[in-house]
């Protein structure tokens, strides 16, 4: 079964202007999303996950952002498109779900109207047909009483309900790609489980491609087909989800998997990644960007100009430092997280 790519990102660089100088927050990222596939992007705060997502949606302030490379959506490069051209695609073919449902919703408009409004732009349905479709959507995202909820305002709904409304808006025009930036981070674990279930179900029904941005590796394990691990603007490892969790290679991926407390296994001490993520201005632009955080690893293990290399079919790793990587003595030993 050959999969149809929906989104092909090639060598994307997203740079922001800071004091008259441009600094890349996303630095040479290539990534493909196929139909009916969930690709997760994980990494520390500030590594460029949202910057990447926003560039696909064309939501960066143009006067302070430089975009290079290509973002091809169904074969068509989005980057040179004008705002009206982008608006044709945004919301119709690409839906977006943000972390905080409150900021994504208009506080002064009933949620039913907001779902209808998302259809105004892209469809020519009569108002009764739109209402009908809105009620269907509300039902589909698991809102118990669609007629009643239609007239409610965002503040009258719980966080989980609001996120369902945001999802209803995102899927209103049956997009072929959904970008979900931390869709469950603000929610309780039981509601998170419901929203994850809902997204998975919708994705399977509609054969949608999903980019799922999260820092929760548990969510990744449950949702993703493939995973891209980002560090300081670059993808450092890319693999299918089973490989990533059972045979992680890059030191950053392995460190991340060690630093989360798990319900399954209890250990006295968690792994701590030394040092901090450098700011955009101070980021080393040559050599292995993770080098300073594994300072016990010999300099010669790193590549001068690390590239993302396919080390097994579909498994990509940046730099050579993974080959002889080990955790220092006082840290817990290396083991496969979650596989007991």
């Amino acid at each position: 079964m050959s999969k149809q790519p929906i989104l092909q990102i090639e060598n994307l660089r997203v740079s922001f202007r800071i004091h008259d100088e441009y600094y890349a927050a996303v630095d040479g990222v290539s990534l493909t999303v196929n139909e009916n596939e969930v690709v997760a992007i994980v990494g520390e705060s500030g590594c460029g996950k949202s910057a990447l997502a926003l560039s696909i949606m064309g939501l960066h302030p143009l006067e302070r952002t430089k975009l290079e490379g290509t973002i091809a959506f169904k074969g068509k490069n989005l980057l040179p498109l004008s705002v009206p051209q982008l608006n044709q695609i945004r919301g119709k073919d690409i839906g977006m779900i943000f972390q905080d449902p409150l900021t994504a919703l208009n506080p002064l408009m009933s949620v039913g109207r907001q779902i209808e409004e998302s259809m105004d732009y892209h469809t020519k349905l009569s108002s009764s047909a739109k209402r009908q479709r809105t009620l269907e959507l509300l039902k589909r995202v698991g809102i118990p009483n669609p007629e009643k909820t239609y007239d409610r305002y965002p503040h009258e709904l719980s966080g989980g309900m609001r996120q369902r409304i945001v999802i209803a808006i995102a899927i209103a025009c049956e997009p072929s790609l959904i970008i979900a930036d931390e869709p469950t981070t603000a929610l309780d674990v039981t509601i998170q489980a419901q929203i994850m279930g809902l997204l998975k179900e919708l994705q399977q029904q509609m054969k949608t491609g999903i980019i799922l941005i999260t820092h929760d590796l548990g969510v990744v394990a449950e949702m993703a087909d493939r995973v891209a691990v980002m560090y300081a603007g670059e993808i450092v490892e890319l693999a299918d989800v089973n490989t990533l969790f059972s045979r992680p290679l890059h030191p950053y991926t392995r460190s991340l998997l060690h630093s989360i407390p798990s319900v399954q296994t209890r250990k006295e001490k968690l792994h701590v990644i030394q040092g901090i993520v450098p700011s955009l201005q101070k980021l080393p632009r040559t050599g292995c960007r993770f080098k300073s955080r594994i300072s016990w690893i010999d300099e010669s293990e790193h590549e001068k100009n690390p590239i993302l290399r396919e080390v097994a079919p579909g498994h990509w790793v940046r730099c050579t430092c993974y080959k002889n990587f080990y955790f220092p003595q006082d840290n817990i030993g290396d083991m496969n997280y979650g596989i007991s």
């Binding site: 705060s45 309780d188 674990v189 039981t190 630093s259 399954q264 596989i339």
Partner: protein
Amino acid sequence: MAFLKVNHLKVYYPVRGGFFRRVIDYVRAVDDVSFELEQGETYGLVGESGCGKTTTGRTIIGLIKATAGEILLEGKDLTKLSRREFYHYRKDIQMIFQDPYSSLNPRKRVLDIIAEPLRNFEKLSPQEEKRKVQYFVEKVGLHPESIYKYPHEFSGGQRQRIGIARALTLNPKLIIADEPVSALDVSVQAQVLNFMKEIQKEFQLTYLFISHDLGIIRHMCDRIGIMYRGQFVEEGTSEEIFHDPQHIYTKRLISAIPNPNPQHRQEQVKLRQEIDKEYHNSYHQYFDAEGRVYPLKRISETHSVAIP
């Protein structure tokens, strides 16, 4: 005698309305909660958003007045104390807050931030004060020169450690940590959690650890209380709660945790569906006609469940 004993604690927030802004109703944020902490242990309070965790913590530390019930610290009922008497006990209980970014005053130097509680409670010379602050700054793993810097010059994890240094200066016995790592990245989270365990041993601290992250609770806590709408549904050791949960609400909470093994995906979804079904089918065994839980019933030495 328990180190801290919370006895039938109730905290109701008035809801005002109508023309005269009269009290028309109450939010029963904490509604008859009892639990005990032994010295040196870590007790976890877990539950969904709005179940009353923060209110419980803030009432123990005296920031909110109890509507009813007792809070006994080493036998002394804090709710009965006058302001002046309470002041004396205030030193023994410190709080660490969720957000290391907004809980530190950005215009103050680290020295002044950490010394603030000292200045309220102890009369030290500037030299003594500085020495003491530097002692704790080093304890939390920061450079002694850090005391002349401002909060924005530190990372999230470092800021949270500054907050912890401030909480430690008065030699507290009990630390209430309300979502202390929720705002931090996983790698920084690990640093703060490890550190909290280390200082617990060194300073013989007792923790009341509030979180909605069950992985963190499992990592940190000896015993756990599960809250639901202002009440306890279950209490037990970490082992009991995670391996032998009894209340359907607890089971649901635990089954909702994402499974970090992608190969167990299907089973996890199936488990969740089964427990959801059980939740709906057996709802009336666990909740009364008003949707409230029953009082806790002891089922073993350490394990209690809210069943009729």
